[in-house]
Subunit: 322 residues, 2 copies
Protein backbone atom coordinates (compact mmCIF):
# COMPACT_ATOMS: atom_id res chain seq x y z
CA UNK A 1 0.00 0.00 0.00
CA UNK A 2 1.35 3.39 -0.90
CA UNK A 3 0.30 6.43 1.07
CA UNK A 4 -0.07 9.62 -0.92
CA UNK A 5 1.12 12.64 0.97
CA UNK A 6 -1.40 15.17 -0.27
CA UNK A 7 0.64 18.03 1.12
CA UNK A 8 3.11 17.38 -1.68
CA UNK A 9 0.42 17.96 -4.29
CA UNK A 10 0.41 21.52 -5.56
CA UNK A 11 -1.67 23.52 -7.99
CA UNK A 12 -0.93 26.70 -9.85
CA UNK A 13 -3.74 29.15 -9.24
CA UNK A 14 -4.07 32.07 -11.64
CA UNK A 15 -6.53 34.93 -11.32
CA UNK A 16 -6.86 37.11 -14.39
CA UNK A 17 -8.07 40.60 -13.55
CA UNK A 18 -8.51 43.57 -15.86
CA UNK A 19 -5.31 45.22 -14.68
CA UNK A 20 -3.29 42.54 -12.92
CA UNK A 21 -2.96 38.79 -13.09
CA UNK A 22 -2.08 37.17 -9.77
CA UNK A 23 -0.79 33.65 -9.51
CA UNK A 24 0.68 31.35 -6.92
CA UNK A 25 1.50 27.78 -6.02
CA UNK A 26 -0.96 26.33 -3.50
CA UNK A 27 -0.76 23.06 -1.60
CA UNK A 28 -3.68 20.84 -0.61
CA UNK A 29 -3.97 22.58 2.76
CA UNK A 30 -4.63 25.90 1.02
CA UNK A 31 -1.23 27.39 1.81
CA UNK A 32 0.25 29.68 -0.81
CA UNK A 33 3.87 28.58 -1.18
CA UNK A 34 4.90 31.45 -3.44
CA UNK A 35 3.15 34.03 -5.55
CA UNK A 36 3.72 36.74 -8.11
CA UNK A 37 1.86 39.05 -10.48
CA UNK A 38 2.10 40.28 -14.04
CA UNK A 39 0.20 43.07 -15.78
CA UNK A 40 -2.79 41.94 -17.83
CA UNK A 41 -3.59 45.19 -19.57
CA UNK A 42 -0.29 45.60 -21.44
CA UNK A 43 -0.83 42.51 -23.64
CA UNK A 44 -3.19 43.12 -26.51
CA UNK A 45 -2.28 39.71 -27.89
CA UNK A 46 -3.17 36.88 -25.55
CA UNK A 47 -0.14 34.90 -26.76
CA UNK A 48 2.16 37.64 -25.45
CA UNK A 49 0.31 37.47 -22.15
CA UNK A 50 0.84 33.72 -21.91
CA UNK A 51 4.50 34.08 -22.86
CA UNK A 52 5.10 36.51 -20.01
CA UNK A 53 3.06 34.39 -17.60
CA UNK A 54 5.19 31.38 -18.52
CA UNK A 55 8.41 33.37 -18.18
CA UNK A 56 7.53 34.36 -14.60
CA UNK A 57 5.62 31.27 -13.43
CA UNK A 58 7.77 28.52 -14.88
CA UNK A 59 10.82 29.24 -12.68
CA UNK A 60 8.46 28.97 -9.68
CA UNK A 61 7.20 25.64 -10.96
CA UNK A 62 10.72 24.34 -11.57
CA UNK A 63 11.78 25.34 -8.08
CA UNK A 64 9.03 23.18 -6.56
CA UNK A 65 9.16 20.40 -9.18
CA UNK A 66 11.66 18.35 -7.16
CA UNK A 67 9.70 18.09 -3.91
CA UNK A 68 6.13 18.56 -5.13
CA UNK A 69 3.74 17.13 -7.66
CA UNK A 70 1.99 19.74 -9.83
CA UNK A 71 -1.49 18.31 -10.37
CA UNK A 72 -2.87 21.09 -12.52
CA UNK A 73 -3.51 24.74 -13.24
CA UNK A 74 -6.69 26.48 -12.16
CA UNK A 75 -7.71 29.84 -13.61
CA UNK A 76 -10.33 32.36 -12.62
CA UNK A 77 -11.26 35.04 -15.14
CA UNK A 78 -14.20 37.25 -15.98
CA UNK A 79 -16.63 35.65 -18.49
CA UNK A 80 -14.67 32.41 -18.43
CA UNK A 81 -16.50 29.31 -19.59
CA UNK A 82 -15.80 26.08 -17.70
CA UNK A 83 -17.12 23.79 -20.44
CA UNK A 84 -15.44 25.47 -23.38
CA UNK A 85 -12.24 26.48 -21.60
CA UNK A 86 -12.62 29.94 -23.07
CA UNK A 87 -12.96 33.56 -22.08
CA UNK A 88 -15.79 35.15 -24.03
CA UNK A 89 -16.06 38.90 -24.62
CA UNK A 90 -14.97 39.95 -21.14
CA UNK A 91 -15.67 43.69 -21.08
CA UNK A 92 -12.65 44.56 -18.92
CA UNK A 93 -10.06 42.51 -20.82
CA UNK A 94 -8.32 43.57 -24.02
CA UNK A 95 -8.89 40.23 -25.77
CA UNK A 96 -12.11 40.51 -27.76
CA UNK A 97 -14.23 37.63 -29.00
CA UNK A 98 -13.54 34.12 -27.75
CA UNK A 99 -10.13 33.39 -26.26
CA UNK A 100 -9.31 29.63 -26.11
CA UNK A 101 -7.42 30.06 -22.86
CA UNK A 102 -7.30 26.41 -21.75
CA UNK A 103 -5.98 25.31 -25.14
CA UNK A 104 -3.29 28.01 -25.16
CA UNK A 105 -2.29 27.32 -21.56
CA UNK A 106 -2.12 23.57 -22.04
CA UNK A 107 0.10 24.01 -25.08
CA UNK A 108 2.47 26.29 -23.20
CA UNK A 109 2.56 24.70 -19.76
CA UNK A 110 1.94 21.05 -20.81
CA UNK A 111 -0.31 20.72 -17.77
CA UNK A 112 -4.04 20.10 -17.32
CA UNK A 113 -5.75 23.50 -17.02
CA UNK A 114 -9.25 24.30 -15.74
CA UNK A 115 -10.88 27.70 -16.06
CA UNK A 116 -14.06 29.21 -14.68
CA UNK A 117 -15.32 32.65 -13.90
CA UNK A 118 -13.79 34.39 -10.92
CA UNK A 119 -16.91 34.21 -8.74
CA UNK A 120 -17.23 30.45 -9.28
CA UNK A 121 -13.56 30.05 -8.46
CA UNK A 122 -14.08 32.03 -5.25
CA UNK A 123 -16.96 29.74 -4.23
CA UNK A 124 -14.91 26.63 -4.95
CA UNK A 125 -12.02 28.11 -2.96
CA UNK A 126 -14.25 28.68 0.05
CA UNK A 127 -15.57 25.13 -0.20
CA UNK A 128 -12.07 23.67 -0.46
CA UNK A 129 -10.13 25.86 1.94
CA UNK A 130 -12.41 28.42 3.62
CA UNK A 131 -15.66 29.27 5.35
CA UNK A 132 -17.77 26.91 3.22
CA UNK A 133 -15.82 23.76 4.11
CA UNK A 134 -18.31 20.92 4.47
CA UNK A 135 -21.24 22.88 3.03
CA UNK A 136 -23.09 21.19 0.19
CA UNK A 137 -25.60 23.93 -0.62
CA UNK A 138 -24.59 27.56 -0.46
CA UNK A 139 -24.46 30.71 -2.53
CA UNK A 140 -21.40 32.91 -2.54
CA UNK A 141 -21.96 36.59 -3.28
CA UNK A 142 -18.95 38.75 -4.05
CA UNK A 143 -19.60 42.41 -3.42
CA UNK A 144 -16.82 44.38 -5.05
CA UNK A 145 -16.70 46.78 -7.99
CA UNK A 146 -19.37 44.48 -9.39
CA UNK A 147 -21.56 41.78 -7.85
CA UNK A 148 -20.55 38.23 -8.68
CA UNK A 149 -21.92 34.91 -7.53
CA UNK A 150 -21.06 31.24 -7.32
CA UNK A 151 -23.82 28.75 -6.61
CA UNK A 152 -23.15 25.37 -5.05
CA UNK A 153 -25.83 22.68 -5.08
CA UNK A 154 -25.17 19.17 -3.76
CA UNK A 155 -21.52 20.04 -3.36
CA UNK A 156 -21.12 21.04 -7.01
CA UNK A 157 -20.74 24.39 -8.71
CA UNK A 158 -23.71 25.18 -10.91
CA UNK A 159 -22.51 25.86 -14.45
CA UNK A 160 -25.81 25.51 -16.35
CA UNK A 161 -26.10 23.99 -19.80
CA UNK A 162 -23.58 26.41 -21.31
CA UNK A 163 -21.21 27.16 -18.44
CA UNK A 164 -22.59 30.64 -17.71
CA UNK A 165 -24.93 30.00 -14.78
CA UNK A 166 -24.77 32.15 -11.67
CA UNK A 167 -24.93 35.73 -12.88
CA UNK A 168 -26.96 36.80 -9.88
CA UNK A 169 -25.56 40.34 -9.92
CA UNK A 170 -27.51 40.89 -13.12
CA UNK A 171 -30.86 39.61 -11.92
CA UNK A 172 -33.42 42.40 -11.75
CA UNK A 173 -34.57 43.32 -8.25
CA UNK A 174 -36.31 46.62 -8.95
CA UNK A 175 -38.01 46.52 -12.37
CA UNK A 176 -37.39 49.80 -14.20
CA UNK A 177 -35.02 50.78 -11.41
CA UNK A 178 -31.57 52.27 -11.64
CA UNK A 179 -29.93 51.94 -15.05
CA UNK A 180 -26.74 49.90 -15.02
CA UNK A 181 -23.74 51.89 -16.26
CA UNK A 182 -22.49 49.11 -18.52
CA UNK A 183 -25.22 46.56 -19.29
CA UNK A 184 -27.97 49.16 -19.65
CA UNK A 185 -30.42 46.95 -17.74
CA UNK A 186 -32.65 48.63 -15.17
CA UNK A 187 -32.76 47.67 -11.52
CA UNK A 188 -30.20 44.86 -11.35
CA UNK A 189 -28.69 43.83 -8.03
CA UNK A 190 -25.29 45.05 -9.21
CA UNK A 191 -26.69 48.51 -9.95
CA UNK A 192 -27.29 48.88 -6.20
CA UNK A 193 -25.17 46.46 -4.17
CA UNK A 194 -21.78 46.83 -5.87
CA UNK A 195 -19.27 49.43 -4.70
CA UNK A 196 -20.09 51.34 -7.88
CA UNK A 197 -23.80 51.24 -7.05
CA UNK A 198 -23.26 52.23 -3.43
CA UNK A 199 -21.20 55.23 -4.55
CA UNK A 200 -24.17 56.40 -6.64
CA UNK A 201 -26.53 55.90 -3.69
CA UNK A 202 -24.13 57.72 -1.37
CA UNK A 203 -24.13 60.77 -3.63
CA UNK A 204 -27.94 60.65 -3.84
CA UNK A 205 -28.40 60.46 -0.09
CA UNK A 206 -25.84 63.20 0.55
CA UNK A 207 -28.00 65.51 -1.54
CA UNK A 208 -31.07 64.58 0.50
CA UNK A 209 -29.43 65.20 3.91
CA UNK A 210 -27.99 68.74 4.07
CA UNK A 211 -26.47 68.11 7.52
CA UNK A 212 -24.79 64.85 6.62
CA UNK A 213 -21.10 64.30 7.34
CA UNK A 214 -20.87 63.14 3.73
CA UNK A 215 -20.64 66.80 2.77
CA UNK A 216 -17.08 66.74 4.15
CA UNK A 217 -16.17 64.54 1.19
CA UNK A 218 -15.75 65.71 -2.39
CA UNK A 219 -18.12 64.37 -5.04
CA UNK A 220 -15.40 61.97 -6.22
CA UNK A 221 -14.63 60.74 -2.68
CA UNK A 222 -18.29 60.16 -1.93
CA UNK A 223 -18.23 56.36 -2.17
CA UNK A 224 -18.86 53.19 -0.14
CA UNK A 225 -15.77 53.86 1.97
CA UNK A 226 -16.93 57.39 2.80
CA UNK A 227 -20.38 56.05 3.66
CA UNK A 228 -18.81 53.49 5.99
CA UNK A 229 -16.67 56.12 7.73
CA UNK A 230 -19.71 58.35 8.25
CA UNK A 231 -21.89 55.43 9.35
CA UNK A 232 -19.29 54.66 12.01
CA UNK A 233 -19.87 58.17 13.34
CA UNK A 234 -23.63 57.61 13.41
CA UNK A 235 -24.39 59.77 10.37
CA UNK A 236 -28.02 59.27 9.44
CA UNK A 237 -27.55 59.66 5.67
CA UNK A 238 -24.73 57.11 5.63
CA UNK A 239 -26.74 54.65 7.72
CA UNK A 240 -29.60 55.09 5.26
CA UNK A 241 -27.27 54.32 2.36
CA UNK A 242 -26.56 50.89 3.82
CA UNK A 243 -30.15 50.29 4.94
CA UNK A 244 -31.40 51.09 1.43
CA UNK A 245 -28.72 48.91 -0.18
CA UNK A 246 -29.20 46.12 2.35
CA UNK A 247 -32.93 45.98 1.74
CA UNK A 248 -32.42 45.61 -2.00
CA UNK A 249 -29.78 42.95 -1.39
CA UNK A 250 -32.21 41.18 0.96
CA UNK A 251 -34.99 41.19 -1.64
CA UNK A 252 -32.64 39.57 -4.15
CA UNK A 253 -31.37 37.01 -1.63
CA UNK A 254 -34.88 35.96 -0.74
CA UNK A 255 -35.52 35.07 -4.38
CA UNK A 256 -32.24 33.17 -4.56
CA UNK A 257 -33.15 31.18 -1.43
CA UNK A 258 -36.53 30.20 -2.87
CA UNK A 259 -34.68 28.96 -5.95
CA UNK A 260 -32.05 26.65 -4.47
CA UNK A 261 -32.71 26.61 -0.71
CA UNK A 262 -29.08 26.97 0.42
CA UNK A 263 -28.01 26.44 4.02
CA UNK A 264 -25.81 29.53 3.91
CA UNK A 265 -25.03 32.67 1.98
CA UNK A 266 -21.37 33.56 2.04
CA UNK A 267 -20.23 37.11 1.37
CA UNK A 268 -16.88 38.28 0.13
CA UNK A 269 -15.43 41.52 -1.17
CA UNK A 270 -14.61 45.07 -0.24
CA UNK A 271 -18.22 46.12 0.29
CA UNK A 272 -18.64 43.50 3.04
CA UNK A 273 -16.43 45.68 5.27
CA UNK A 274 -19.67 47.62 5.88
CA UNK A 275 -20.64 44.61 8.02
CA UNK A 276 -23.90 44.82 9.92
CA UNK A 277 -24.74 48.23 8.48
CA UNK A 278 -25.38 46.34 5.26
CA UNK A 279 -25.96 42.72 6.27
CA UNK A 280 -28.44 43.29 9.09
CA UNK A 281 -31.05 45.07 6.92
CA UNK A 282 -30.30 42.55 4.15
CA UNK A 283 -31.02 39.64 6.50
CA UNK A 284 -34.16 41.23 7.89
CA UNK A 285 -35.54 41.97 4.43
CA UNK A 286 -34.70 38.49 3.19
CA UNK A 287 -36.47 36.86 6.12
CA UNK A 288 -39.48 39.11 5.62
CA UNK A 289 -39.84 38.09 1.97
CA UNK A 290 -39.29 34.35 2.42
CA UNK A 291 -42.11 31.82 2.49
CA UNK A 292 -42.52 30.44 6.04
CA UNK A 293 -40.86 27.10 5.12
CA UNK A 294 -37.60 28.95 4.40
CA UNK A 295 -37.53 31.30 7.38
CA UNK A 296 -34.83 31.02 10.09
CA UNK A 297 -32.87 28.46 8.13
CA UNK A 298 -30.30 30.41 6.11
CA UNK A 299 -27.04 31.42 7.75
CA UNK A 300 -25.12 34.49 6.70
CA UNK A 301 -21.34 34.06 6.71
CA UNK A 302 -18.50 36.34 5.78
CA UNK A 303 -15.40 34.97 4.08
CA UNK A 304 -12.34 34.96 6.30
CA UNK A 305 -9.88 34.82 3.43
CA UNK A 306 -7.43 37.63 2.88
CA UNK A 307 -8.56 39.41 -0.27
CA UNK A 308 -5.06 39.22 -1.73
CA UNK A 309 -4.98 35.43 -1.31
CA UNK A 310 -8.59 34.55 -2.10
CA UNK A 311 -8.35 34.87 -5.88
CA UNK A 312 -5.29 32.61 -6.07
CA UNK A 313 -6.75 30.07 -3.64
CA UNK A 314 -10.04 30.04 -5.53
CA UNK A 315 -8.34 29.45 -8.86
CA UNK A 316 -6.07 26.74 -7.42
CA UNK A 317 -8.99 24.98 -5.73
CA UNK A 318 -10.51 24.15 -9.13
CA UNK A 319 -7.81 21.54 -9.60
CA UNK A 320 -8.84 19.44 -6.60
CA UNK A 321 -11.91 17.24 -6.67
CA UNK A 322 -14.34 17.86 -3.83
CA UNK B 1 -26.09 -13.20 -18.60
CA UNK B 2 -29.67 -12.32 -17.68
CA UNK B 3 -31.52 -9.70 -19.60
CA UNK B 4 -33.89 -7.57 -17.57
CA UNK B 5 -37.05 -6.73 -19.47
CA UNK B 6 -37.62 -3.22 -18.18
CA UNK B 7 -41.13 -3.18 -19.57
CA UNK B 8 -42.06 -5.63 -16.80
CA UNK B 9 -40.95 -3.16 -14.15
CA UNK B 10 -43.84 -1.11 -12.82
CA UNK B 11 -44.22 1.70 -10.32
CA UNK B 12 -47.23 2.91 -8.42
CA UNK B 13 -47.58 6.64 -8.95
CA UNK B 14 -49.75 8.57 -6.48
CA UNK B 15 -50.65 12.24 -6.75
CA UNK B 16 -52.19 13.72 -3.62
CA UNK B 17 -54.33 16.75 -4.39
CA UNK B 18 -56.46 18.79 -2.03
CA UNK B 19 -59.70 17.17 -3.19
CA UNK B 20 -58.72 14.00 -5.04
CA UNK B 21 -55.85 11.55 -4.93
CA UNK B 22 -55.07 9.96 -8.30
CA UNK B 23 -52.95 6.86 -8.64
CA UNK B 24 -51.98 4.38 -11.27
CA UNK B 25 -49.56 1.65 -12.26
CA UNK B 26 -46.98 2.83 -14.76
CA UNK B 27 -44.45 0.82 -16.73
CA UNK B 28 -40.95 1.92 -17.73
CA UNK B 29 -42.21 3.24 -21.06
CA UNK B 30 -44.53 5.66 -19.25
CA UNK B 31 -47.71 3.78 -20.06
CA UNK B 32 -50.41 3.87 -17.41
CA UNK B 33 -51.61 0.27 -17.10
CA UNK B 34 -54.54 1.07 -14.82
CA UNK B 35 -55.60 3.95 -12.62
CA UNK B 36 -58.12 5.01 -10.05
CA UNK B 37 -58.89 7.83 -7.59
CA UNK B 38 -60.00 8.28 -4.00
CA UNK B 39 -61.15 11.40 -2.21
CA UNK B 40 -58.46 13.15 -0.15
CA UNK B 41 -60.62 15.67 1.67
CA UNK B 42 -62.85 13.17 3.52
CA UNK B 43 -60.02 11.78 5.66
CA UNK B 44 -59.10 14.00 8.57
CA UNK B 45 -56.84 11.25 9.88
CA UNK B 46 -54.05 10.38 7.49
CA UNK B 47 -54.21 6.73 8.64
CA UNK B 48 -57.78 6.48 7.36
CA UNK B 49 -56.59 7.96 4.08
CA UNK B 50 -53.86 5.34 3.75
CA UNK B 51 -56.28 2.55 4.68
CA UNK B 52 -58.62 3.53 1.86
CA UNK B 53 -55.74 4.00 -0.56
CA UNK B 54 -54.53 0.50 0.27
CA UNK B 55 -58.02 -0.95 -0.07
CA UNK B 56 -58.35 0.41 -3.61
CA UNK B 57 -54.74 0.19 -4.82
CA UNK B 58 -53.74 -3.20 -3.46
CA UNK B 59 -56.12 -5.21 -5.66
CA UNK B 60 -54.55 -3.39 -8.65
CA UNK B 61 -51.09 -4.34 -7.42
CA UNK B 62 -52.08 -7.97 -6.87
CA UNK B 63 -53.54 -8.19 -10.35
CA UNK B 64 -50.19 -7.17 -11.87
CA UNK B 65 -47.98 -8.92 -9.32
CA UNK B 66 -47.77 -12.12 -11.40
CA UNK B 67 -46.47 -10.64 -14.63
CA UNK B 68 -44.74 -7.46 -13.37
CA UNK B 69 -42.15 -6.40 -10.84
CA UNK B 70 -43.26 -3.51 -8.59
CA UNK B 71 -40.07 -1.52 -8.04
CA UNK B 72 -41.50 1.20 -5.82
CA UNK B 73 -44.10 3.81 -5.02
CA UNK B 74 -43.68 7.44 -6.04
CA UNK B 75 -45.79 10.18 -4.53
CA UNK B 76 -46.32 13.81 -5.45
CA UNK B 77 -47.94 16.08 -2.86
CA UNK B 78 -48.02 19.76 -1.95
CA UNK B 79 -45.27 20.73 0.55
CA UNK B 80 -43.78 17.25 0.41
CA UNK B 81 -40.19 16.91 1.54
CA UNK B 82 -38.00 14.51 -0.41
CA UNK B 83 -35.33 14.21 2.29
CA UNK B 84 -37.66 13.76 5.25
CA UNK B 85 -40.35 11.78 3.45
CA UNK B 86 -42.93 14.07 4.99
CA UNK B 87 -45.69 16.48 4.06
CA UNK B 88 -45.31 19.69 6.06
CA UNK B 89 -48.19 22.06 6.72
CA UNK B 90 -49.72 21.85 3.25
CA UNK B 91 -52.34 24.60 3.27
CA UNK B 92 -54.83 22.68 1.10
CA UNK B 93 -54.64 19.35 2.93
CA UNK B 94 -56.50 18.49 6.15
CA UNK B 95 -53.45 16.97 7.84
CA UNK B 96 -51.78 19.72 9.85
CA UNK B 97 -48.19 19.76 11.06
CA UNK B 98 -45.75 17.18 9.76
CA UNK B 99 -47.15 13.98 8.23
CA UNK B 100 -44.57 11.14 8.00
CA UNK B 101 -46.06 9.92 4.73
CA UNK B 102 -43.17 7.72 3.56
CA UNK B 103 -43.02 5.93 6.91
CA UNK B 104 -46.78 5.31 6.96
CA UNK B 105 -46.84 4.17 3.32
CA UNK B 106 -43.87 1.83 3.73
CA UNK B 107 -45.51 0.23 6.77
CA UNK B 108 -48.75 -0.34 4.90
CA UNK B 109 -47.53 -1.27 1.43
CA UNK B 110 -44.21 -2.91 2.42
CA UNK B 111 -42.65 -1.21 -0.60
CA UNK B 112 -39.99 1.48 -1.05
CA UNK B 113 -41.76 4.84 -1.26
CA UNK B 114 -40.39 8.18 -2.48
CA UNK B 115 -42.20 11.48 -2.07
CA UNK B 116 -41.57 14.96 -3.39
CA UNK B 117 -43.65 18.01 -4.10
CA UNK B 118 -45.98 17.84 -7.06
CA UNK B 119 -44.03 20.31 -9.21
CA UNK B 120 -40.79 18.37 -8.74
CA UNK B 121 -42.62 15.16 -9.61
CA UNK B 122 -43.95 16.80 -12.76
CA UNK B 123 -40.43 17.84 -13.80
CA UNK B 124 -39.09 14.33 -13.16
CA UNK B 125 -41.99 12.88 -15.15
CA UNK B 126 -41.18 15.09 -18.14
CA UNK B 127 -37.53 14.10 -17.92
CA UNK B 128 -38.37 10.39 -17.72
CA UNK B 129 -41.30 10.15 -20.11
CA UNK B 130 -42.06 13.52 -21.71
CA UNK B 131 -40.88 16.68 -23.39
CA UNK B 132 -37.72 16.97 -21.29
CA UNK B 133 -36.29 13.57 -22.26
CA UNK B 134 -32.55 13.95 -22.65
CA UNK B 135 -32.42 17.43 -21.14
CA UNK B 136 -29.93 17.90 -18.31
CA UNK B 137 -30.68 21.52 -17.43
CA UNK B 138 -34.22 22.82 -17.54
CA UNK B 139 -36.84 24.52 -15.42
CA UNK B 140 -40.41 23.33 -15.39
CA UNK B 141 -43.05 25.91 -14.59
CA UNK B 142 -46.56 24.72 -13.81
CA UNK B 143 -49.15 27.41 -14.36
CA UNK B 144 -52.38 26.27 -12.72
CA UNK B 145 -54.36 27.51 -9.74
CA UNK B 146 -50.92 28.31 -8.35
CA UNK B 147 -47.46 28.55 -9.92
CA UNK B 148 -45.16 25.62 -9.17
CA UNK B 149 -41.67 24.82 -10.36
CA UNK B 150 -39.22 21.99 -10.65
CA UNK B 151 -35.59 22.79 -11.37
CA UNK B 152 -33.24 20.28 -12.99
CA UNK B 153 -29.49 20.91 -12.97
CA UNK B 154 -27.04 18.36 -14.38
CA UNK B 155 -29.89 15.89 -14.80
CA UNK B 156 -30.89 16.09 -11.14
CA UNK B 157 -33.82 17.69 -9.38
CA UNK B 158 -32.72 20.53 -7.13
CA UNK B 159 -33.92 19.89 -3.58
CA UNK B 160 -31.71 22.32 -1.69
CA UNK B 161 -30.28 21.61 1.75
CA UNK B 162 -33.70 20.96 3.27
CA UNK B 163 -35.73 19.52 0.40
CA UNK B 164 -37.74 22.69 -0.25
CA UNK B 165 -35.88 24.27 -3.18
CA UNK B 166 -37.75 25.45 -6.25
CA UNK B 167 -40.54 27.66 -4.98
CA UNK B 168 -40.26 29.98 -7.95
CA UNK B 169 -43.93 30.91 -7.84
CA UNK B 170 -43.21 32.76 -4.61
CA UNK B 171 -40.22 34.76 -5.80
CA UNK B 172 -40.99 38.46 -5.90
CA UNK B 173 -41.09 39.99 -9.38
CA UNK B 174 -42.75 43.32 -8.60
CA UNK B 175 -41.63 44.60 -5.17
CA UNK B 176 -44.63 45.97 -3.30
CA UNK B 177 -46.85 44.67 -6.09
CA UNK B 178 -50.10 42.73 -5.86
CA UNK B 179 -50.74 41.15 -2.47
CA UNK B 180 -50.95 37.36 -2.57
CA UNK B 181 -54.31 36.06 -1.33
CA UNK B 182 -52.77 33.39 0.89
CA UNK B 183 -49.08 34.10 1.64
CA UNK B 184 -49.59 37.86 2.06
CA UNK B 185 -46.39 38.60 0.13
CA UNK B 186 -46.45 41.42 -2.37
CA UNK B 187 -45.65 41.02 -6.06
CA UNK B 188 -44.88 37.30 -6.29
CA UNK B 189 -44.95 35.53 -9.64
CA UNK B 190 -47.92 33.46 -8.47
CA UNK B 191 -49.90 36.60 -7.65
CA UNK B 192 -49.90 37.38 -11.39
CA UNK B 193 -49.19 34.30 -13.49
CA UNK B 194 -51.45 31.71 -11.82
CA UNK B 195 -55.05 31.21 -12.97
CA UNK B 196 -56.07 32.95 -9.74
CA UNK B 197 -53.83 35.91 -10.55
CA UNK B 198 -54.98 36.12 -14.15
CA UNK B 199 -58.61 36.19 -13.00
CA UNK B 200 -57.79 39.24 -10.86
CA UNK B 201 -56.04 40.90 -13.78
CA UNK B 202 -58.95 40.08 -16.11
CA UNK B 203 -61.39 41.83 -13.78
CA UNK B 204 -59.06 44.83 -13.54
CA UNK B 205 -58.67 45.17 -17.29
CA UNK B 206 -62.39 44.71 -17.90
CA UNK B 207 -62.98 47.78 -15.76
CA UNK B 208 -60.45 49.74 -17.79
CA UNK B 209 -61.92 48.84 -21.19
CA UNK B 210 -65.65 49.76 -21.32
CA UNK B 211 -66.08 48.22 -24.78
CA UNK B 212 -64.41 44.92 -23.95
CA UNK B 213 -66.14 41.64 -24.72
CA UNK B 214 -65.29 40.70 -21.14
CA UNK B 215 -68.38 42.64 -20.11
CA UNK B 216 -70.43 39.75 -21.53
CA UNK B 217 -69.14 37.67 -18.61
CA UNK B 218 -70.33 37.94 -15.01
CA UNK B 219 -67.82 39.02 -12.36
CA UNK B 220 -67.46 35.40 -11.26
CA UNK B 221 -66.94 34.12 -14.82
CA UNK B 222 -64.33 36.75 -15.54
CA UNK B 223 -61.29 34.47 -15.37
CA UNK B 224 -58.37 33.18 -17.47
CA UNK B 225 -60.75 31.10 -19.60
CA UNK B 226 -62.93 34.13 -20.35
CA UNK B 227 -59.83 36.16 -21.19
CA UNK B 228 -58.69 33.43 -23.58
CA UNK B 229 -62.08 33.27 -25.30
CA UNK B 230 -62.13 37.04 -25.75
CA UNK B 231 -58.49 37.11 -26.90
CA UNK B 232 -59.41 34.60 -29.59
CA UNK B 233 -61.95 37.16 -30.85
CA UNK B 234 -59.28 39.89 -30.89
CA UNK B 235 -60.57 41.71 -27.80
CA UNK B 236 -58.02 44.34 -26.83
CA UNK B 237 -58.57 44.12 -23.08
CA UNK B 238 -58.17 40.34 -23.11
CA UNK B 239 -55.02 40.56 -25.21
CA UNK B 240 -53.68 43.10 -22.73
CA UNK B 241 -54.39 40.69 -19.86
CA UNK B 242 -52.04 38.14 -21.38
CA UNK B 243 -49.47 40.72 -22.49
CA UNK B 244 -49.34 42.15 -18.95
CA UNK B 245 -49.13 38.66 -17.40
CA UNK B 246 -46.61 37.46 -19.97
CA UNK B 247 -44.31 40.40 -19.34
CA UNK B 248 -44.27 39.70 -15.61
CA UNK B 249 -43.66 36.02 -16.28
CA UNK B 250 -40.82 36.98 -18.65
CA UNK B 251 -39.18 39.20 -16.02
CA UNK B 252 -39.24 36.30 -13.57
CA UNK B 253 -37.92 33.82 -16.13
CA UNK B 254 -35.02 36.08 -17.01
CA UNK B 255 -33.90 36.02 -13.39
CA UNK B 256 -34.25 32.22 -13.27
CA UNK B 257 -32.15 31.86 -16.42
CA UNK B 258 -29.36 34.01 -14.98
CA UNK B 259 -29.40 31.72 -11.94
CA UNK B 260 -29.10 28.26 -13.47
CA UNK B 261 -28.70 28.85 -17.23
CA UNK B 262 -31.14 26.13 -18.39
CA UNK B 263 -31.35 25.02 -22.01
CA UNK B 264 -35.15 25.03 -21.87
CA UNK B 265 -38.13 26.20 -19.89
CA UNK B 266 -41.00 23.76 -19.97
CA UNK B 267 -44.54 24.90 -19.25
CA UNK B 268 -47.44 22.84 -18.01
CA UNK B 269 -50.92 23.53 -16.66
CA UNK B 270 -54.29 24.97 -17.56
CA UNK B 271 -53.01 28.52 -18.01
CA UNK B 272 -50.67 27.37 -20.80
CA UNK B 273 -53.74 26.91 -23.02
CA UNK B 274 -53.42 30.67 -23.58
CA UNK B 275 -50.45 29.72 -25.77
CA UNK B 276 -48.71 32.53 -27.61
CA UNK B 277 -50.98 35.19 -26.12
CA UNK B 278 -49.04 34.54 -22.92
CA UNK B 279 -45.78 32.91 -23.98
CA UNK B 280 -44.82 35.31 -26.77
CA UNK B 281 -44.70 38.43 -24.55
CA UNK B 282 -43.07 36.29 -21.84
CA UNK B 283 -40.32 35.22 -24.21
CA UNK B 284 -39.78 38.73 -25.55
CA UNK B 285 -39.55 40.22 -22.07
CA UNK B 286 -37.19 37.48 -20.89
CA UNK B 287 -34.88 38.01 -23.84
CA UNK B 288 -34.93 41.76 -23.28
CA UNK B 289 -33.86 41.39 -19.64
CA UNK B 290 -31.15 38.76 -20.16
CA UNK B 291 -27.45 39.56 -20.26
CA UNK B 292 -26.13 39.15 -23.82
CA UNK B 293 -24.37 35.85 -22.99
CA UNK B 294 -27.78 34.26 -22.25
CA UNK B 295 -29.76 35.63 -25.19
CA UNK B 296 -31.14 33.33 -27.93
CA UNK B 297 -30.17 30.21 -26.03
CA UNK B 298 -33.24 29.23 -24.00
CA UNK B 299 -35.99 27.21 -25.66
CA UNK B 300 -39.61 27.43 -24.57
CA UNK B 301 -41.45 24.11 -24.63
CA UNK B 302 -44.97 23.12 -23.67
CA UNK B 303 -45.64 19.78 -22.03
CA UNK B 304 -47.45 17.33 -24.30
CA UNK B 305 -48.73 15.18 -21.44
CA UNK B 306 -52.44 14.84 -20.86
CA UNK B 307 -53.21 16.71 -17.68
CA UNK B 308 -55.09 13.73 -16.26
CA UNK B 309 -52.04 11.46 -16.74
CA UNK B 310 -49.22 13.87 -15.93
CA UNK B 311 -49.59 13.78 -12.15
CA UNK B 312 -49.53 9.97 -12.03
CA UNK B 313 -46.63 9.74 -14.49
CA UNK B 314 -44.69 12.36 -12.56
CA UNK B 315 -45.14 10.56 -9.27
CA UNK B 316 -44.29 7.17 -10.78
CA UNK B 317 -41.18 8.55 -12.46
CA UNK B 318 -39.60 9.23 -9.07
CA UNK B 319 -39.01 5.51 -8.68
CA UNK B 320 -36.75 5.19 -11.71
CA UNK B 321 -33.19 6.41 -11.66
CA UNK B 322 -32.29 8.82 -14.46
Amino acid sequence: MSIIDLSHQIALGIDIGGTTTKFGLVNSRGEILCQNTIRTDVHEDVNDFIDELYAVANPMLEQYAKKCDLIGIGMGAPNANFYEGTIEDAPNLLWTGTTPMVELMTQKFKTKTIITNDANAAAKGEMQFGAAKGLKNFIMITLGTGVGSGIVINGQLVYGHDGFAGELGHTIVIPDGRKHWSTGSKGSLEAYASATGIAITTKEFRNRYPASLLHHYSEAECNAKAAFECAEKGDEAALEVFRFTGEILGKALSNFVMFSSPEAILFFGGVVKAGDYLLKPAYEQMEMDLLPIFKNKVNFAVSQMKESDAAILGAASLVWEN
